[in-house]
Amino acid sequence: MALVADPDEDLVRRVGQGDPAAIQAMVARKLPRMLALAHRMLGDAAEAEDVAQEAMFRAWKQAPRWTPGQARFDTWLHRVGLNLCYDRLRRRREVPTEAPPERPDEGPSPDRGLMAADVGNRVNAALAHLPDRQREAVVLCHYQELTNIEAAALMEVSVEALESLLSRGRRGLRLALADIRPGAEGV
């Protein structure tokens, strides 16, 4: 098996040795990525923090026994984060609710016009309403900037299937946000 070049290799090794500077560097490098991943997958700030914290805890446990060259640490960490997100999404579906979940505000504020923050919230809401697999594909490729091969491997689908999910996800977003013209005043 070909060795995988990993930009995090040295940092992971030092984290495994308990180097406090490396631990801080790992937090600076990976915590924002894990939080962004979880926030966009779950659409809930508190749950996203829990997932990011748990993913980082597992990174600490893994670092001393990490074998370089077999996989990229970032890809492994994304798998951990995604599994944690899917656990929570599954639990949400299993918990019976009397009323349907509250839908986020998808319309512009009536008295303020469509400001950038509103638009950002609307994009997040539209993202949250995509089917899970489409959202995962968009989040991994667009926001987390993984390669198509990495994202497909993480999702355990072919690259062709990933591209299909991406296309449908992007089309769904465009339809949900059809009234927004990016670049218009205030957006």
Partner: protein, 142 residues
């Protein structure tokens, strides 16, 4: 690169060539250069979706979350030691060992010196006793 494949490519990855798969990037860029009018509308549409996606801002970790995550490293069993600190530990160990050796040497020297002095004192005592006995014999024998 066919027209069909190019349209599928930008529908999935967007209008930014940097996001296109590495293996097809150059061919897709060449396709755009060769067919600018044909791809213009599709690229503009993909670019709009890209721009929408960028309107979603990533949340940033709070200081409290950062602190909790850093603290969790110790809970996960990572010993917070620096390389420099390890050298200090080794130096301290070496100094400690030095003191221990010096102490042992001092104790051994003390024992030897005491033994030597005791032997001298004992020899003096024997000679003194002998001299006393010699005096007594002279007195008795005349």
């Amino acid at each position: 690169m066919t027209s069909e494949r190019f349209l599928a490519l930008i529908a999935a990855y967007g209008a930014d060539a940097r996001r296109w798969p590495e293996g097809e990037r150059e061919a897709a860029k060449a396709f755009v250069a060769a067919n600018p009018a044909a791809v213009h509308a599709a690229l503009a549409e993909a670019d709009e979706v890209d721009a929408l996606l960028f309107l979603s801002r990533a949340v940033q970790p709070s200081m409290a979350l950062r602190d909790r995550v850093i603290a969790s490293a110790a809970a996960a069993g990572l010993k917070a030691r620096r390389e420099g600190r390890r050298w200090l530990d080794r130096l301290a160990l070496a100094l400690g060992a030095g003191w221990a050796v010096a102490t042992c040497a001092g104790v051994a020297a003390g024992i030897m010196l005491t033994t030597h002095l005791t032997a001298d004192a004992q020899a003096d005592a024997v000679l003194y006793q002998a001299s006393l006995m010699a005096v007594d014999d002279t007195e008795v024998l005349g």
